[in-house]
Protein backbone atom coordinates (compact mmCIF):
# COMPACT_ATOMS: atom_id res chain seq x y z
CA UNK A 1 0.00 0.00 0.00
CA UNK A 2 1.22 3.46 -0.77
CA UNK A 3 1.82 6.01 1.96
CA UNK A 4 -0.88 8.27 0.55
CA UNK A 5 -3.42 5.51 0.93
CA UNK A 6 -2.28 4.84 4.51
CA UNK A 7 -2.86 8.50 5.20
CA UNK A 8 -6.23 8.97 3.49
CA UNK A 9 -7.85 5.79 4.79
CA UNK A 10 -7.97 7.25 8.30
CA UNK A 11 -10.00 10.24 7.15
CA UNK A 12 -13.02 8.44 5.80
CA UNK A 13 -12.73 4.79 4.82
CA UNK A 14 -11.35 3.68 8.18
CA UNK A 15 -12.24 6.78 10.16
CA UNK A 16 -11.41 5.82 13.77
CA UNK A 17 -14.69 7.13 15.18
CA UNK A 18 -17.24 6.69 12.39
CA UNK A 19 -15.98 3.42 10.93
CA UNK A 20 -13.88 1.69 13.58
CA UNK A 21 -15.95 2.99 16.54
CA UNK A 22 -12.80 3.68 18.53
CA UNK A 23 -12.28 6.66 20.83
CA UNK A 24 -15.93 6.90 21.79
CA UNK A 25 -15.06 8.23 25.25
CA UNK A 26 -13.52 11.55 24.11
CA UNK A 27 -16.01 11.65 21.23
CA UNK A 28 -18.82 11.85 23.78
CA UNK A 29 -17.05 13.72 26.54
CA UNK A 30 -15.18 16.63 24.97
CA UNK A 31 -17.33 17.54 21.98
CA UNK A 32 -19.51 20.06 23.79
CA UNK A 33 -17.70 22.87 21.97
CA UNK A 34 -15.73 23.03 18.73
CA UNK A 35 -12.76 24.59 20.48
CA UNK A 36 -12.48 21.66 22.90
CA UNK A 37 -12.94 19.14 20.09
CA UNK A 38 -10.16 20.71 18.02
CA UNK A 39 -7.84 20.79 21.02
CA UNK A 40 -8.47 17.17 21.92
CA UNK A 41 -8.11 16.06 18.29
CA UNK A 42 -4.78 17.81 17.81
CA UNK A 43 -3.36 16.70 21.17
CA UNK A 44 -4.39 13.06 20.63
CA UNK A 45 -3.07 13.16 17.05
CA UNK A 46 0.30 14.34 18.27
CA UNK A 47 0.61 11.55 20.85
CA UNK A 48 -0.58 9.06 18.21
CA UNK A 49 2.21 10.08 15.84
CA UNK A 50 4.85 9.76 18.59
CA UNK A 51 3.62 6.39 19.83
CA UNK A 52 3.13 4.89 16.34
CA UNK A 53 6.65 5.97 15.45
CA UNK A 54 8.20 4.32 18.51
CA UNK A 55 6.09 1.16 18.32
CA UNK A 56 6.98 0.67 14.66
CA UNK A 57 10.63 1.32 15.41
CA UNK A 58 10.72 -1.21 18.24
CA UNK A 59 8.46 -3.80 16.60
CA UNK A 60 11.22 -6.40 16.31
CA UNK A 61 12.62 -5.71 19.79
CA UNK A 62 9.44 -6.06 21.85
CA UNK A 63 8.38 -9.70 22.31
CA UNK A 64 4.72 -10.23 21.41
CA UNK A 65 3.85 -11.68 24.84
CA UNK A 66 4.57 -8.41 26.64
CA UNK A 67 3.71 -6.02 23.84
CA UNK A 68 0.58 -4.54 25.45
CA UNK A 69 2.27 -3.46 28.72
CA UNK A 70 5.13 -2.05 26.67
CA UNK A 71 2.74 -0.02 24.48
CA UNK A 72 0.89 1.29 27.49
CA UNK A 73 4.12 2.41 29.14
CA UNK A 74 5.23 4.08 25.89
CA UNK A 75 1.92 5.89 25.41
CA UNK A 76 1.66 6.99 29.04
CA UNK A 77 5.23 8.27 28.94
CA UNK A 78 4.55 10.34 25.83
CA UNK A 79 1.39 11.79 27.30
CA UNK A 80 3.18 12.81 30.48
CA UNK A 81 6.09 14.28 28.52
CA UNK A 82 3.71 16.31 26.37
CA UNK A 83 1.93 17.50 29.51
CA UNK A 84 5.14 18.58 31.27
CA UNK A 85 6.77 20.22 28.27
CA UNK A 86 3.64 22.05 27.23
CA UNK A 87 3.09 23.25 30.79
CA UNK A 88 6.64 24.59 31.02
CA UNK A 89 7.16 26.13 27.59
CA UNK A 90 3.67 26.81 26.18
CA UNK A 91 1.64 27.80 29.25
CA UNK A 92 -1.12 29.47 27.22
CA UNK A 93 -1.72 26.40 25.07
CA UNK A 94 -1.53 24.24 28.17
CA UNK A 95 -4.21 26.32 29.86
CA UNK A 96 -6.68 25.63 27.05
CA UNK A 97 -5.68 22.01 26.29
CA UNK A 98 -4.48 21.01 29.75
CA UNK A 99 -7.57 19.18 30.87
CA UNK A 100 -7.59 16.90 27.81
CA UNK A 101 -4.02 15.71 28.01
CA UNK A 102 -4.45 13.13 30.80
CA UNK A 103 -7.50 11.82 28.92
CA UNK A 104 -5.35 10.89 25.92
CA UNK A 105 -3.90 7.92 27.83
CA UNK A 106 -7.30 6.24 27.83
CA UNK A 107 -7.99 7.05 24.18
CA UNK A 108 -8.18 3.59 22.68
CA UNK A 109 -7.40 4.84 19.16
CA UNK A 110 -3.77 5.20 20.20
CA UNK A 111 -3.45 1.69 21.65
CA UNK A 112 -5.60 0.39 18.78
CA UNK A 113 -3.29 1.77 16.10
CA UNK A 114 -0.17 0.58 17.95
CA UNK A 115 -1.61 -2.92 18.21
CA UNK A 116 -3.46 -3.04 14.91
CA UNK A 117 -1.08 -1.29 12.58
CA UNK A 118 2.24 0.06 13.84
CA UNK A 119 3.57 -3.20 15.25
CA UNK A 120 3.61 -4.89 11.87
CA UNK A 121 4.42 -2.04 9.50
CA UNK A 122 7.43 0.10 8.68
CA UNK A 123 8.10 3.44 10.35
CA UNK A 124 7.02 5.59 7.36
CA UNK A 125 3.77 3.63 6.98
CA UNK A 126 3.07 3.90 10.70
CA UNK A 127 3.64 7.66 10.58
CA UNK A 128 1.30 8.05 7.60
CA UNK A 129 -1.29 5.95 9.38
CA UNK A 130 -0.98 8.00 12.58
CA UNK A 131 -1.28 11.27 10.67
CA UNK A 132 -4.38 10.05 8.83
CA UNK A 133 -5.99 8.68 11.96
CA UNK A 134 -5.21 11.90 13.81
CA UNK A 135 -6.82 13.99 11.08
CA UNK A 136 -9.78 11.60 10.89
CA UNK A 137 -10.28 11.71 14.64
CA UNK A 138 -10.09 15.52 14.70
CA UNK A 139 -12.55 15.67 11.79
CA UNK A 140 -15.02 13.39 13.60
CA UNK A 141 -14.68 15.40 16.81
CA UNK A 142 -15.32 18.67 14.99
CA UNK A 143 -18.37 17.28 13.15
CA UNK A 144 -19.93 16.14 16.41
CA UNK A 145 -18.98 19.35 18.23
CA UNK A 146 -20.46 21.47 15.43
CA UNK A 147 -23.87 19.90 15.97
CA UNK A 148 -23.63 20.02 19.74
CA UNK A 149 -22.34 23.57 20.03
CA UNK A 150 -24.79 25.05 17.52
CA UNK A 151 -27.76 23.26 19.08
CA UNK A 152 -26.67 23.53 22.69
CA UNK A 153 -25.14 27.01 22.82
CA UNK A 154 -26.16 28.68 19.55
CA UNK A 155 -22.50 29.31 18.76
CA UNK A 156 -19.75 27.83 16.60
CA UNK A 157 -16.15 28.12 17.82
CA UNK A 158 -17.46 30.76 20.21
CA UNK A 159 -19.08 32.85 17.43
CA UNK A 160 -22.74 33.51 18.08
CA UNK A 161 -24.55 32.20 15.00
CA UNK A 162 -28.18 32.20 15.95
CA UNK A 163 -28.46 35.46 17.87
CA UNK A 164 -29.09 36.06 21.55
CA UNK A 165 -32.78 34.97 21.56
CA UNK A 166 -31.59 31.45 20.83
CA UNK A 167 -28.33 31.42 22.78
CA UNK A 168 -30.14 32.53 25.94
CA UNK A 169 -32.47 29.53 25.78
CA UNK A 170 -30.67 26.88 23.70
CA UNK A 171 -31.50 23.17 23.45
CA UNK A 172 -29.34 22.52 26.47
CA UNK A 173 -29.56 18.75 26.20
CA UNK A 174 -27.30 18.84 23.14
CA UNK A 175 -24.29 19.74 25.29
CA UNK A 176 -25.29 17.45 28.15
CA UNK A 177 -24.30 13.78 28.19
CA UNK A 178 -27.65 12.32 26.98
CA UNK A 179 -27.60 14.67 23.98
CA UNK A 180 -24.15 13.37 23.10
CA UNK A 181 -25.44 9.81 22.95
CA UNK A 182 -28.48 10.78 20.88
CA UNK A 183 -26.44 12.78 18.37
CA UNK A 184 -23.82 10.04 18.19
CA UNK A 185 -26.59 7.63 17.20
CA UNK A 186 -27.76 9.93 14.42
CA UNK A 187 -24.27 10.60 13.10
CA UNK A 188 -23.15 6.95 13.14
CA UNK A 189 -26.48 5.98 11.55
CA UNK A 190 -25.95 8.56 8.83
CA UNK A 191 -22.50 7.24 7.96
CA UNK A 192 -23.76 3.65 7.98
CA UNK A 193 -26.55 4.69 5.62
CA UNK A 194 -24.06 6.20 3.17
CA UNK A 195 -21.97 3.08 3.44
CA UNK A 196 -24.95 0.82 2.76
CA UNK A 197 -26.00 2.87 -0.25
CA UNK A 198 -22.50 2.69 -1.63
CA UNK A 199 -22.51 -1.09 -1.33
CA UNK A 200 -25.87 -1.11 -3.13
CA UNK A 201 -27.68 -2.43 -0.09
CA UNK A 202 -31.04 -1.36 1.22
CA UNK A 203 -31.45 1.27 3.90
Amino acid sequence: MSLTREFTKGIYKENPVFRLALGMCPFLAVTSSVENALGMGVAAGFVLICSNFLVALLRSVIPSKVRIPCYIVIIATFVTLVDLIMNAYLPDLHRSLGIFIPLIVVNCIILGRAEGFANRNTVPAALADALGMGVGFTFAMVVMATFREILGSGTWLGINLLGSPYSNQPILIAILAPGAFILMGFILGFFNMIDNRRKGGAL
Binding site: V61, V73, I74, L84, I85, P91, L172
Partner: protein
Protein backbone atom coordinates in the same frame (compact mmCIF):
# COMPACT_ATOMS: atom_id res chain seq x y z
CA UNK B 1 12.81 -20.10 31.94
CA UNK B 2 15.08 -18.21 29.57
CA UNK B 3 11.98 -16.96 27.81
CA UNK B 4 10.47 -15.56 31.01
CA UNK B 5 13.76 -13.91 31.83
CA UNK B 6 13.87 -12.27 28.42
CA UNK B 7 10.31 -10.97 28.74
CA UNK B 8 11.08 -9.60 32.18
CA UNK B 9 14.24 -7.91 31.01
CA UNK B 10 12.51 -6.26 28.03
CA UNK B 11 9.68 -5.01 30.23
CA UNK B 12 12.15 -3.73 32.78
CA UNK B 13 14.18 -1.94 30.12
CA UNK B 14 11.07 -0.26 28.71
CA UNK B 15 10.02 0.84 32.18
CA UNK B 16 13.51 2.03 33.14
CA UNK B 17 13.88 4.07 29.95
CA UNK B 18 10.40 5.55 30.38
CA UNK B 19 11.00 6.42 34.03
CA UNK B 20 14.44 7.83 33.25
CA UNK B 21 13.19 10.10 30.48
CA UNK B 22 10.24 11.24 32.58
CA UNK B 23 12.50 12.01 35.53
CA UNK B 24 14.90 13.92 33.32
CA UNK B 25 12.18 16.03 31.67
CA UNK B 26 10.51 16.61 35.03
CA UNK B 27 13.73 17.95 36.52
CA UNK B 28 13.99 20.39 33.60
CA UNK B 29 10.38 21.55 33.61
CA UNK B 30 9.53 21.59 37.32
CA UNK B 31 11.13 24.96 38.16
CA UNK B 32 9.67 26.48 34.99
CA UNK B 33 6.19 25.24 35.82
CA UNK B 34 6.45 26.59 39.37
CA UNK B 35 7.62 29.91 37.95
CA UNK B 36 4.68 30.05 35.52
CA UNK B 37 2.24 29.34 38.34
CA UNK B 38 3.73 32.05 40.52
CA UNK B 39 3.66 34.52 37.64
CA UNK B 40 0.06 33.68 36.78
CA UNK B 41 -0.93 34.17 40.41
CA UNK B 42 0.80 37.53 40.65
CA UNK B 43 -0.74 38.70 37.38
CA UNK B 44 -4.17 37.70 38.63
CA UNK B 45 -3.56 39.55 41.90
CA UNK B 46 -2.56 42.68 40.02
CA UNK B 47 -5.50 42.45 37.64
CA UNK B 48 -8.11 42.13 40.41
CA UNK B 49 -6.38 44.75 42.58
CA UNK B 50 -7.04 47.31 39.83
CA UNK B 51 -10.70 47.20 40.82
CA UNK B 52 -9.79 48.44 44.32
CA UNK B 53 -7.30 51.18 43.58
CA UNK B 54 -8.12 52.07 39.97
CA UNK B 55 -6.15 51.50 36.80
CA UNK B 56 -2.53 52.55 36.60
CA UNK B 57 -2.08 53.08 40.36
CA UNK B 58 0.95 51.21 41.66
CA UNK B 59 0.08 48.71 44.37
CA UNK B 60 2.05 46.66 46.83
CA UNK B 61 0.92 43.45 48.47
CA UNK B 62 1.52 42.35 52.03
CA UNK B 63 0.30 39.03 53.28
CA UNK B 64 -1.80 38.85 56.42
CA UNK B 65 -2.67 35.75 58.35
CA UNK B 66 -6.32 35.10 59.05
CA UNK B 67 -7.35 32.27 61.37
CA UNK B 68 -9.95 29.93 59.93
CA UNK B 69 -9.12 30.51 56.31
CA UNK B 70 -6.77 27.54 56.08
CA UNK B 71 -8.46 25.20 53.65
CA UNK B 72 -8.28 21.40 53.66
CA UNK B 73 -8.48 21.29 49.86
CA UNK B 74 -5.64 23.72 49.34
CA UNK B 75 -2.45 22.25 47.98
CA UNK B 76 0.67 23.16 49.86
CA UNK B 77 1.94 25.39 47.07
CA UNK B 78 -1.40 27.13 46.74
CA UNK B 79 -1.80 28.38 50.29
CA UNK B 80 -2.22 32.09 50.07
CA UNK B 81 -3.87 33.61 53.04
CA UNK B 82 -5.29 37.09 52.72
CA UNK B 83 -3.11 39.68 51.07
CA UNK B 84 -3.57 43.34 51.89
CA UNK B 85 -3.55 45.74 48.95
CA UNK B 86 -1.67 48.97 49.63
CA UNK B 87 -1.16 52.05 47.54
CA UNK B 88 0.85 55.05 48.67
CA UNK B 89 1.21 53.49 52.10
CA UNK B 90 -2.51 53.17 52.77
CA UNK B 91 -4.38 49.93 53.01
CA UNK B 92 -7.09 49.96 50.36
CA UNK B 93 -8.48 46.45 50.37
CA UNK B 94 -7.73 42.75 50.28
CA UNK B 95 -7.12 39.95 47.81
CA UNK B 96 -7.60 36.32 48.72
CA UNK B 97 -7.99 32.94 47.05
CA UNK B 98 -11.05 30.86 47.86
CA UNK B 99 -10.99 27.08 47.44
CA UNK B 100 -14.28 25.37 46.69
CA UNK B 101 -15.03 21.72 46.03
CA UNK B 102 -16.81 21.76 42.66
CA UNK B 103 -18.27 19.01 40.53
CA UNK B 104 -14.98 17.56 39.34
CA UNK B 105 -12.23 19.77 40.75
CA UNK B 106 -11.24 22.12 43.51
CA UNK B 107 -12.03 25.53 42.10
CA UNK B 108 -9.71 28.38 43.01
CA UNK B 109 -11.23 31.82 42.87
CA UNK B 110 -9.22 34.98 43.37
CA UNK B 111 -11.31 37.69 44.98
CA UNK B 112 -10.61 41.37 45.57
CA UNK B 113 -12.66 43.27 48.11
CA UNK B 114 -12.62 46.72 49.59
CA UNK B 115 -12.14 47.62 53.24
CA UNK B 116 -15.92 47.75 53.60
CA UNK B 117 -16.20 44.04 52.77
CA UNK B 118 -17.69 44.46 49.31
CA UNK B 119 -16.35 42.44 46.41
CA UNK B 120 -14.86 44.61 43.69
CA UNK B 121 -13.63 41.90 41.31
CA UNK B 122 -13.10 38.17 41.12
CA UNK B 123 -11.60 35.71 38.71
CA UNK B 124 -11.20 31.95 38.46
CA UNK B 125 -7.59 30.85 38.85
CA UNK B 126 -8.06 27.14 38.37
CA UNK B 127 -10.89 24.75 37.64
CA UNK B 128 -11.39 21.46 35.81
CA UNK B 129 -15.16 21.43 35.62
CA UNK B 130 -17.17 19.89 32.78
CA UNK B 131 -16.32 21.62 29.47
CA UNK B 132 -19.36 23.42 28.12
CA UNK B 133 -21.12 23.46 31.50
CA UNK B 134 -19.30 24.11 34.77
CA UNK B 135 -16.20 25.26 32.93
CA UNK B 136 -18.19 28.32 31.84
CA UNK B 137 -17.52 29.63 35.34
CA UNK B 138 -14.20 30.88 33.95
CA UNK B 139 -16.02 33.21 31.57
CA UNK B 140 -16.02 36.41 33.65
CA UNK B 141 -19.17 37.89 32.10
CA UNK B 142 -21.15 34.77 32.70
CA UNK B 143 -21.04 34.28 36.43
CA UNK B 144 -18.44 36.09 38.51
CA UNK B 145 -19.66 39.50 37.34
CA UNK B 146 -22.68 38.85 39.55
CA UNK B 147 -20.44 38.87 42.66
CA UNK B 148 -19.35 42.48 42.27
CA UNK B 149 -20.66 44.77 45.00
CA UNK B 150 -21.79 41.93 47.24
CA UNK B 151 -20.75 41.12 50.79
CA UNK B 152 -21.10 38.08 53.06
CA UNK B 153 -24.81 38.80 53.55
CA UNK B 154 -25.76 38.75 49.88
CA UNK B 155 -23.53 35.99 48.55
CA UNK B 156 -26.17 33.32 48.05
CA UNK B 157 -27.45 31.55 44.93
CA UNK B 158 -31.10 31.93 44.00
CA UNK B 159 -31.47 28.23 44.81
CA UNK B 160 -30.19 28.92 48.33
CA UNK B 161 -32.40 31.89 49.06
CA UNK B 162 -30.24 34.64 47.55
CA UNK B 163 -30.43 36.35 44.19
CA UNK B 164 -27.30 35.18 42.34
CA UNK B 165 -28.38 33.12 39.33
CA UNK B 166 -26.36 29.92 38.95
CA UNK B 167 -24.90 28.94 35.58
CA UNK B 168 -27.55 26.89 33.78
CA UNK B 169 -26.89 23.17 34.27
CA UNK B 170 -24.03 23.85 36.66
CA UNK B 171 -25.52 24.51 40.07
CA UNK B 172 -22.86 22.48 41.88
CA UNK B 173 -20.04 24.49 40.34
CA UNK B 174 -21.80 27.80 40.97
CA UNK B 175 -22.60 26.86 44.56
CA UNK B 176 -19.02 25.75 45.24
CA UNK B 177 -17.63 29.08 44.08
CA UNK B 178 -20.24 31.12 45.93
CA UNK B 179 -19.84 29.15 49.16
CA UNK B 180 -16.04 29.22 49.13
CA UNK B 181 -15.96 32.98 48.54
CA UNK B 182 -18.52 33.59 51.26
CA UNK B 183 -16.63 31.40 53.75
CA UNK B 184 -13.41 33.25 52.99
CA UNK B 185 -15.04 36.61 53.55
CA UNK B 186 -16.72 35.42 56.73
CA UNK B 187 -13.33 34.38 58.10
CA UNK B 188 -11.95 37.81 57.21
CA UNK B 189 -14.90 39.55 58.83
CA UNK B 190 -14.45 37.43 61.96
CA UNK B 191 -10.80 38.49 62.06
CA UNK B 192 -11.93 42.10 62.06
CA UNK B 193 -10.45 43.02 58.70
CA UNK B 194 -13.52 44.89 57.48
CA UNK B 195 -14.51 48.31 58.74
CA UNK B 196 -17.62 48.76 60.83
CA UNK B 197 -20.63 49.53 58.73
CA UNK B 198 -19.45 47.45 55.82
CA UNK B 199 -21.13 44.45 57.37
CA UNK B 200 -24.37 46.06 58.50
CA UNK B 201 -26.07 46.14 55.11
Amino acid sequence: MADVLKLGIVLMLVAVIAAGSLGFVNSLTEPLIAQQKEKAKLEAMESVAVSIVGAGVPVTFDSLSVPGLANPYAQSDAVLSVVGVFSEGHKRGYVFIAYGRGYSSTIQTMVACGLNGEITASEILYQQETPGLGANVSDPDRFLVRFTGRNTQSLFLTADGGDIDAITGSTITSRAVTLSVRRGMEAMAAAGLFQEGGQSR
